[in-house]
């Protein structure tokens, strides 16, 4: 995902021809090397690599194949190179943000990222883990040996900049046995450090997602502090679950659940839980005292709501935009007075 964006972003660097550069890219290097030597020493070139020629050809063909597929899609690579999975789209959007900072590509990539973001996503942004899993399964030795071959090939070609391509082919559901990683200028091209850098970028991207998720983590800088906040958040959520279950068990020993009535009540309850005062107070004495207080709050609320229950249906819920400001606009005035009453009672208590 991130590899695709980066590779496409960098392909725009190559003289403006979007995809075709990457097609000829591997072969150009080889041809350049072979051109310096006599053409009849082409076989010696592969001998130089200490590869049997058929393997080198196979590698070339596979990389060329991917590159050609990328070239064909280069025209409309905005849409086609990204998989149809909206989760991946969103993740790619996030990664394109991060990769844009690092690469020096002008507005083309930013335009693409915006286009990616504008795709409607209503599914979870969780990345497609099934595509990542084979990566772990594939042995690292395979990766490294393939990368070394790539390095040697390209290394013979160019003296200054040694580049390889991050190219995870999106059309394959099963991942390629090796990952091409691109080294940026002025950075180490050791295969180990490349792999480490890819891994670090992955982890950093996920840390950013976590920062967005946990409230109050945006301003904190530094991994340790962010992890602190995440741990606190998880612990508080777990404690809340325990507390709620204890509360429910203490309500009554005999719980007869009438599903229909409960679900009907829940259709109203989204309106209440979004009020600012609605946070369960931590670790009060459990038992009747607290339950009585909360019961009083809702007793005042729900007789008013009872008039409006037939008006509200479950299908109205997705359209609710419930903010203290907007509530006046979205509902009738009497429905609005109910939320205001409840917030006032909570303030008193």
């Amino acid at each position: 995902m991130e590899g695709i964006v980066e590779s496409k972003a960098r392909s725009t660097n190559y003289g403006g021809i979007l995809g075709t550069q990457s097609v000829q890219f591997g072969e150009e290097e080889i041809h350049r090397v072979m051109g310096t030597q006599a053409p009849e020493t082409g076989s010696s070139f592969t001998a130089l690599l200490e590869l049997p020629s058929n393997q080198a050809v196979e590698l070339l063909h596979s990389s060329g194949f991917d590159a050609s597929r990328a070239a064909h899609s280069s025209e409309n690579w905005n849409t086609q190179s990204f998989p149809s999975n909206t989760a991946l789209l969103e993740r790619a959007a996030k990664f394109s943000e991060t990769s844009i900072e690092t690469s020096s590509v002008p507005s083309s990539s930013s335009a693409n990222s915006q286009k990616v973001k504008s795709e409607p996503f209503d599914s979870e942004t969780k990345p497609n883990i099934s595509s990542d899993q084979p990566e772990h399964v594939i042995t690292s030795t395979q990766k490294r040996s393939a990368k070394r071959k790539e390095i040697e090939k390209k290394g013979k070609g160019t003296g200054k900049k040694i580049k390889k391509v991050i190219n995870k082919n999106p059309e394959d559901k099963e991942m390629l046995p090796y990952v091409h990683v691109r080294a940026r200028r002025g950075q180490a091209t050791d295969s180990h450090s490349l792999a480490e850098r890819a891994r670090r970028e992955k982890i950093n991207a996920r840390m950013k997602l976590l920062q967005e998720l946990v409230p109050g983590c945006d301003k904190i800088s530094g991994t340790a502090m962010v992890l602190d906040e995440i741990i606190n958040h998880v612990q508080s959520l777990q404690r809340q679950v325990e507390f709620l279950s204890m509360r429910l068990s203490s309500v009554n020993p005999r719980i007869d659940f009438n599903i229909d009535s409960l679900l009907a009540v829940e259709s109203r309850s989204p309106a209440e839980t979004n009020f600012p005062g609605m946070v369960i107070p931590p670790m009060w004495s459990e038992g009747q005292g607290q339950l009585n207080s909360t019961r009083n709050q809702y007793q005042q609320l729900w007789p008013l709501d009872g008039f409006h229950h037939p008006v509200w249906g479950r299908q109205n819920n997705p359209n609710f935009i419930i903010t203290p400001d907007n509530s006046l606009m979205s509902y009738d005035s009497s429905a609005n007075s109910a939320p205001l009453h409840s917030s006032q009672t909570k303030m008193e208590i």
Binding site: E90, Q133, T223, H233, N252, P253
Partner: protein, 208 residues
């Protein structure tokens, strides 16, 4: 989904996907509690609380957001629960027989995989820590920077250990997948808490 949740917290706005998820969770939880309501009449407060919490966890573990996502913590919860003989009743009701058989198969695989993974990650960690000094380029950095980097690495290491202990099934995961699991786990914990709040409010109101 993450963006929707963050906006939900900042400006409370219910989105269709999150509400449907919550309703799924609530249904499963209520079903589970109904199933053992007979036993709950006799038992003590703590036991009731444990069954309630267990059914909530199982309901959360069995409601998946995206059909294709494979996260390990859900299976970890279910396998941990299935080790206890008392809870098989609950598991049958909430998780469902088909997925239960899947999870059994997967759990066996997972335990095998995780032990191998643990071993491998430990080996990698040892080799990496030995190589660290050469890669970081310690000749160019001053001593203070080296010390600071070592300290920060140690802090981060400690905190990832704590996170591993918090997330169910996190012991046998590397950092990368741990982050994924943490994201998913936080999202579902949040929906779990919200759903439980709804139901508790409903129950307490209906009792009055």
């Amino acid at each position: 989904m993450i963006n929707q949740l963050s906006t939900m917290r900042s400006t409370p706005r219910m989105t269709s996907s999150s509400t449907s998820l919550k309703q799924l969770f609530m249904k499963k939880w209520i079903m589970g509690m109904k199933a053992c309501s007979s036993s709950m009449k006799k038992s003590s407060l703590l036991e009731r609380k444990n069954t309630i919490k267990l059914s909530a966890d199982l309901a959360m573990a069995s409601t998946r957001m995206v059909a294709g996502c494979t996260t390990y913590w859900r299976r970890a919860i279910i396998t941990n629960a299935s080790k206890d003989p008392n809870s098989k009743h609950l598991i049958n009701h909430i998780v469902g027989k088909y997925s239960r058989s899947n999870n059994n198969y997967n759990s066996v695989l997972m335990t095998k995989i995780t032990s191998v993974q643990l071993h491998c990650t430990r080996l990698l960690r040892k080799s990496r820590s030995k190589k660290r000094k050469n890669i970081v380029g310690w000749r160019t950095m001053s001593d203070k920077k080296i010390a600071a980097s070592i300290l920060s690495r140690r802090l981060v290491r400690k905190r990832t250990q704590v996170l591993k202990s918090l997330v169910p099934g996190g012991e046998a995961m590397d950092e990368c997948s741990l982050m994924k699991e943490a994201i998913d786990y936080i999202i579902s914990l949040q929906t779990q808490v919200d759903g439980m709040k709804h139901i508790i409010n409903a129950v307490t109101a209906s009792k009055s």
